[in-house]
């Protein structure tokens, strides 16, 4: 039965990296639907990954992590490359949205984070703020680009292209509550099978208030280039300290100036 997509409900992705096979169908489907030309082909000599990173032309990026021991751990439980289809996390507390001075970055009726291209003016404050390195600048439009969670498809009642194309159900789309339930079941299954390193990232509110695009990881978050809960801070955490330092400096400087400029000798 096809999923009915309704405005006002929270939607997202649950990306289960334990079943990702690195086929990059998600990358291709994303480019195809969103008419992304892609960057000029380059050979990165880094595993099977020649995409490199998420940016204005790559809204899905399959990471290949091969920093694992060469030896199998046990028979039938060999250590393999870790693969992960990375994407914008559509954070509940989004750093990009917090700092955007133009109001270009909004939360849609599907509870996803979206950059309005006709409002963005290319200041790049969101690029500096995004802790996941998701947002890139499109030189043709002069604006910031990232995954829209296929906003146009959602409006048309269709699931995002990447989830539709994923052949292993590594990328699952749906109402957030359903995805969280499915993730809990999957995690319990893996733990019961002895895969104790499996963990959910962004399922709860420990990271940026929770992620609409959350993950099941097979290693610690840092291994995938994701900040752990201790390092997941919003840019505004530095507002108070920064302004207090400026204020104290300002007071001291004004006093210093008044002292320096006072006339001590009357001619």
């Amino acid at each position: 039965m096809p999923l009915e997509i309704k405005p006002g409900e929270s939607y997202g992705f649950f990306t289960d990296t334990s079943v990702c096979i690195g086929c990059k169908a998600c990358e291709v489907a994303c480019k195809e639907w969103n008419q992304l030309e892609g960057n000029s082909p380059t050979f990165l000599a880094d595993s099977f990954d020649n995409t490199g990173q998420l940016d204005a032309q790559n809204w899905r990026h399959v990471k290949f992590l091969d920093n694992v021991p060469d030896q199998s751990l046990t028979s039938g439980n060999g250590t393999a490359w870790l693969m992960m289809s990375d994407v914008c996390k559509h954070c509940k507390h989004a750093s990009c949205m917090e700092v955007c001075p133009t109001g270009a970055i909004i939360r849609t009726e599907f509870d996803t984070v979206f950059i309005q291209q006709d409002v963005c003016n290319g200041c790049r404050n969101c690029v500096a703020a995004c802790p996941y390195g998701v947002i890139g600048m499109n030189q043709q439009t002069g604006t910031a680009h990232k995954c829209t969670l296929c906003y146009d498809r959602l409006q048309g009642g269709l699931e995002p292209a990447c989830a539709k194309a994923c052949p292993t159900q590594s990328i699952q789309f749906g109402p957030l509550a359903d995805l969280q339930q499915a993730a809990d079941v999957r995690l319990a299954t893996l733990h019961s099978q002895g895969v104790t390193q499996a963990q959910l990232y962004g399922r709860d509110d420990a990271v940026y208030g929770g992620l609409n695009a959350f993950f099941l990881l097979m290693d610690k978050p840092e291994a995938y280039g994701l900040p752990n809960a201790a390092n997941a801070g919003l840019p505004s955490r530095n507002d108070l300290g920064g302004y207090i330092a400026a204020l104290v400096t300002g007071v001291l400087a004004v006093i210093a100036g008044l002292v320096a400029f006072r006339r001590r000798v009357t001619p």
């Binding site: 940016d55 917090e98 700092v99 955007c100 001075p101 133009t102 109001g103 270009a104 909004i106 309005q116 006709d118 409002v119 963005c120 003016n121 290319g122 200041c123 790049r124 404050n125 690029v127 500096a128 703020a129 995004c130 802790p131 390195g133 998701v134 890139g136 030189q139 043709q140 439009t141 002069g142 604006t143 280039g225 900040p227 201790a230 390092n231 840019p235 505004s236 530095n238 507002d239 300290g241 920064g242 302004y243 207090i244 330092a245 400026a246 400096t249 300002g250 001291l252 400087a253 004004v254 210093a256 100036g257 008044l258 002292v259 320096a260 400029f261 006072r262 006339r263 001590r264 000798v265």
Partner: protein, 306 residues
Amino acid sequence: MILLAAEHFARAPQWLWWILFYFFFAGLAGGSYVVATLLRFSGDPRDEPAARLGFYISLPATVLCPILLTADLGPVSWSRFWHMLIDVTPGQTALSFKYWSPMSVGAWALLLFGFFAFVSALEAWASDRRGHSLLPAAGNRVFNVIGALVGLYIASYTGVLLSVSNQPVWSDTWVLGGLFLASGLSAAAALIALLSRYRPAASASLDRLHQADGYFSALELVLLAVFLITVSAAGTAGRLVPWLALWALALVGVSASLVGARGHMRMQPSGAEAAVGRVRVDTVVVGVLVLVGVLAVRAAVIFSAQ
């Protein structure tokens, strides 16, 4: 010493040359206005020429700021600079102001400061032409104080803006706002002293300007030390290493300012003509070194994260 091993996976925003010079001129614009106001408040009528010089410097420096910022938006988006002030979301057009986003507050502050810088420069010009102020003294002073408060913000918020991000180095410290303010004030005092060569009446304030510059540089030195401590504590001090030459230039500027201040504090206000001549050579050397140092400290901070 790594107290908090901050890990960053953010992409660099590529804020480079336009932004570097914007930060420099924002420091000069705000700093000059503040120094000019302090001269007017704490000095006597002999300091008025130097104070007016400060207001003169503030205006063109302020005018350059939005030009540099607009240029940084690039050849496609530059015409959307005004989106910083007005949210053009279809059907929801409104003023755009986020008090928690330094870039948003800064855009408004720059607009507001432009008004103060323009009026004060105009007032200084008219006073030079007519020999007395156009505005009532009390009203002018209140105007200057408010303008100086906005100027303090303009000179400092650029550092806070960098910290309010998730970039390595920038977001690992809370000291950048204070650092940029102290160095901006130092640059302003040095530039007013430097340009007093072309406004002889302003050289009556030369010793005081050097002294103030020395105080501001001492503050800057302390803040540089705090910056190093905080960044080291976060484990990202290694990113400063490739830019050691710039840090060295910054320290040269601070040192020159301190040495210049010490020299001028020893001088008598009624010094001989020969002494004034030496002062002017010193002032040029110190002024140039301070300005280069202030530019270098901003370059070092900006490039360290990118």
